[in-house]
C-alpha cells in the first residue's frame, strides 16, 4: 500500500463516524487484553472476597464478585484476552481453509470447482451452530477444540467469496498475461490474484472475528466452554443460574461481548467503505 493510498484509506475510514468510534472501543479493549493482566496479576479464579458482592459497593471490586467470591473485574480483563484470541485464532484458521478452497475452486474451475463447491455446500447446509456443538462435544471442550469448531463452521462464506473474486479476476488481462507467460498456477494465485481479491476478504474476516466471539460465548453458555480459561461466555454461563439474585455476574460480561462485537462490526463497516469504494458507493 503506497503512502497516498494509505492516506486515502484513512480519509475514507475516518469519514465513517461509527467506524472511528468502533476503532476507539476496540483499541481500548485490546489494550485491556494486552496490559490488563498487569492490573490484575492474580489468577481470576482466586476466591478473594465474599461471594455475591454487588458492584461498586466494595473498594477494589468495581464490578462485584461472583458466586464463589471471585473478582469479576479481574475476570473481565482476563476474559478479554481469551475472547479476542479465540476470535482471532479461529478466524485465521477459517481463512486458511476458506481462502485455499475458494482460490483453488475459482482458479481451476470445472470439475475441481464443482467438487469443492459441493463440499462447501455440505458445510453450509448443516446448521452451523449445531455442528459446532457436536464438534466441541466430540473433541471435548478445550480452547483448541473450540477454535477448531468455530473455524470449521465459519470457512464456507470465505470460500465462496474468494471463489467469486477469483472467477472474475481470472479472466482479467493481467492474469491472462501471466498465464501466457507460463507462470505457475501457485505463483499466479498468490502474486497476481490473491492481493487483488484481498480487500473484500479482509472486510469479511473482520466481521468473522465478531461472529467467532459470539459463537464462543454461545458454546460456553451451552456448557461447552474451556473450564481452564476465564472467558466472557464462560462467565455468563456461570452466572446465569444466579441471574435473579446477582444480575451483575452475567450482565457485565454480556455488555463486554456486546461492545466488542459491536466495535468490530463498526470497524468492519469502516474497512468496507475504505477498501471497497466500489461497494461502498452503494450505501451512500
Amino acid at each position: 500500500m503506497t503512502a497516498s493510498s494509505l492516506a486515502e484509506f484513512t480519509r475514507r475510514f475516518s469519514r465513517h463516524g461509527g467506524a472511528v468510534l468502533g476503532a476507539a472501543i476496540l483499541f481500548a479493549i485490546t489494550m485491556l487484553a494486552v496490559f490488563g493482566p498487569l492490573l490484575y496479576p492474580e489468577s481470576p479464579w482466586r476466591m478473594v472476597q465474599k461471594p455475591f458482592l454487588p458492584p461498586m459497593m466494595t473498594d477494589g471490586f468495581l464490578f462485584g464478585t461472583d458466586t464463589l467470591g471471585r473478582n469479576i473485574a479481574a475476570g473481565l480483563v482476563h476474559g478479554a484476552r481469551v475472547s479476542l484470541l479465540i476470535g482471532l485464532a479461529s478466524t485465521a484458521a477459517a481463512l486458511v481453509v476458506g481462502v485455499t478452497t475458494g482460490a483453488v475452486a475459482g482458479f481451476f474451475g470445472g470439475r475441481v470447482d464443482d467438487v469443492l463447491m459441493r463440499f462447501t455446500e455440505l458445510f453450509q447446509t448443516i446448521p452451523n451452530f449445531a455442528l459446532a456443538i457436536v464438534l466441541v462435544a466430540i473433541l471435548q471442550p478445550s480452547t483448541d477444540s473450540i477454535v477448531l469448531a468455530i473455524a470449521i463452521v465459519s470457512w464456507p462464506p470465505i470460500a465462496r467469496l474468494v471463489r467469486s473474486e477469483f472467477l472474475s479476476l481470472r479472466s482479467r488481462e493481467f492474469v491472462q498475461a501471466s498465464i501466457v507467460q507460463g507462470q505457475s498456477s501457485f505463483q499466479i494465485i498468490f502474486t497476481q490474484i490473491l492481493p487483488n481479491a484481498l480487500p473484500p476478504v479482509i472486510v469479511m474476516a473482520s466481521l468473522m472475528v465478531a461472529t467467532a466471539v459470539l459463537l464462543e460465548s454461545s458454546l460456553s453458555f451451552m456448557g461447552l466452554g474451556d473450564p481452564n480459561t476465564m472467558s466472557w461466555g464462560y462467565m455468563i454461563g456461570a452466572g446465569r443460574t444466579v441471574i435473579r439474585q446477582a444480575w451483575w455476574i452475567s450482565f457485565f460480561p454480556g455488555i463486554a461481548i456486546l461492545l466488542t462485537v459491536l466495535s468490530i462490526n463498526l470497524v468492519g463497516e469502516g474497512l468496507n467503505d475504505a477498501l471497497n469504494p466500489r461497494l461502498s458507493r452503494r450505501t451512500r
Binding site: 447446509t125 449445531a130 462435544a137 466430540i138 462464506p157 441471574i243 452503494r282
Partner: protein
C-alpha cells in the same frame, strides 16, 4: 417448464448433499467418547458387564462399523430413521412430535426478522442521512452484536418475572385444557419472547442489507427512467426499487436458514421450547446416535428445502428471470 427442470436438479442435488451429511455425521458422532450403552447404564444408577453388553447387542453396536453404516444408510433410504436408544421410540416419531414447535418458532422468527428488517431498511433508506437512519442503523448493529442467549435471559427477567406480561417458558399452559381461539392465543403468548429474541438478531441483518440494496437500486438507470416518466415516488419505490432491492435479501434469507435453525438450539434451551434443537442437544449428550443423526438429517433437509424455496422465490421476484 424451466422452473420444473430447475426444481428437479435442485432436489437431486439436495438428496446427494443429505446423503453426504448422513455419512459425515455417522462417523463424527461415533468419534465421541462414550457410547449410548454407557450413558444409559450410567443413568440406570448401576451397571455390570452383562447389562452393558445386553444394551450394545440390542442397539446393534456390537457390529463392525461399516456394517452399522450400511444398515443405517439402507434404513434411511427407505425413509426409516431408526429407533432411539434412550427414548425407546422410533426416531421419526420423536422428531415429528417436536418438529412443529421448531417450525413454528423459526418461521415466526423468520417472518419477524424479514418484516421488521425490510421495513426498517426501507425507512432507513428513504431517510438516508437523517437521525432516523442513524438510529435504525445503531439499533440494528446493537441487536447484531448481542449474544442471543443473553438477550433471551434479559427478556425473561424483564417481561416474565418483573412485568409478568408473558410466560417465561414452554409452548403452552399445560394443565389447562384450552381449545379453539383460547388455545391459539395461549400458544401465541408463549411464542412472543422466543420468536422475538431469535428474530431480532436476524432482523438486524436484513435491515442492513435492505438499506444498502435499496440505495444501490435507487441509483440505477431504470429507476431514474421510471421517475422521469412521472410515476409517483411511492409507486417507484414499491414497484421498482423495492422489488429489485429484495433480490439480495432473499438470497441472504436462504443462506441464513442454517443459522436460524442453529439459533433455535439456544432459544429452545433458554425458553424450554419443545423443539428439535433441544432434542438434538439432548441426543448428543446421551450419545443417542440414531436420534442425533435423524435430527441432523431433518434439520439439514429443512435448510435445503428453505434454500430451494428462496431460489424459487427469487425467480418470481426477479423480473429478468421471469422470461425464462
Amino acid at each position: 417448464m424451466h422452473r420444473l427442470h430447475f426444481l428437479g436438479i435442485r432436489l437431486i442435488k439436495a438428496v446427494l448433499v443429505l446423503f453426504a451429511i448422513v455419512v459425515l455425521n455417522f462417523f463424527l458422532i461415533r468419534a465421541a467418547p462414550g457410547d449410548p450403552a454407557m450413558v444409559l447404564a450410567g443413568e440406570a444408577g448401576a451397571a455390570d458387564e452383562i447389562f452393558i453388553a445386553q444394551l450394545r447387542e440390542r442397539f446393534g453396536l456390537d457390529r463392525p462399523v461399516h456394517e452399522q453404516l450400511f444398515f443405517y444408510v439402507r434404513q434411511v433410504a427407505s425413509l426409516d430413521l431408526g429407533f432411539s436408544y434412550r427414548q425407546q421410540a422410533p426416531v421419526l416419531t420423536l422428531i415429528l412430535e417436536r418438529l412443529p414447535a421448531t417450525l413454528l418458532l423459526t418461521l415466526a422468527a423468520f417472518l419477524i426478522s424479514m418484516a421488521l428488517g425490510v421495513l426498517l431498511g426501507v425507512l432507513s433508506a428513504r431517510r438516508v442521512g437523517t437521525w432516523a437512519d442513524s438510529l435504525i442503523t445503531l439499533v440494528a448493529l446493537i441487536f447484531y452484536a448481542t449474544p442471543l442467549f443473553w438477550l433471551a435471559l434479559m427478556a425473561i427477567i424483564l417481561f416474565s418475572v418483573q412485568l409478568e406480561w408473558l410466560p417465561a417458558f414452554g409452548m403452552r399452559s399445560i394443565s389447562q385444557d384450552l381449545t379453539g381461539l383460547a388455545y391459539v392465543a395461549d400458544v401465541a403468548s408463549h411464542l412472543v419472547l422466543p420468536a422475538l429474541t431469535l428474530g431480532l438478531f436476524f432482523m438486524a441483518v436484513y435491515a442492513r442489507l435492505t438499506r444498502a440494496s435499496m440505495l444501490e437500486v435507487a441509483g440505477m438507470d431504470f429507476v431514474k427512467t421510471a421517475r422521469a416518466k412521472g410515476l409517483s415516488p411511492g409507486r417507484v419505490t414499491r414497484d421498482h426499487v423495492l422489488r429489485n432491492a429484495l433480490l439480495p435479501v432473499v438470497t441472504l434469507a436462504g443462506i441464513q436458514a442454517g443459522h436460524l435453525v442453529g439459533g433455535a438450539v439456544l432459544t429452545e434451551t433458554v425458553f424450554a421450547w419443545p423443539g428439535i434443537g433441544r432434542l438434538m442437544f439432548e441426543a448428543l449428550l446421551q450419545r443417542d446416535y440414531n436420534l442425533l443423526l435423524g435430527v441432523f438429517v431433518v434439520a439439514s433437509a429443512m435448510v435445503l428445502l428453505f434454500n430451494i424455496i428462496t431460489d424459487l422465490a427469487y425467480t418470481f421476484i426477479d423480473p429478468r428471470i421471469e422470461a425464462g
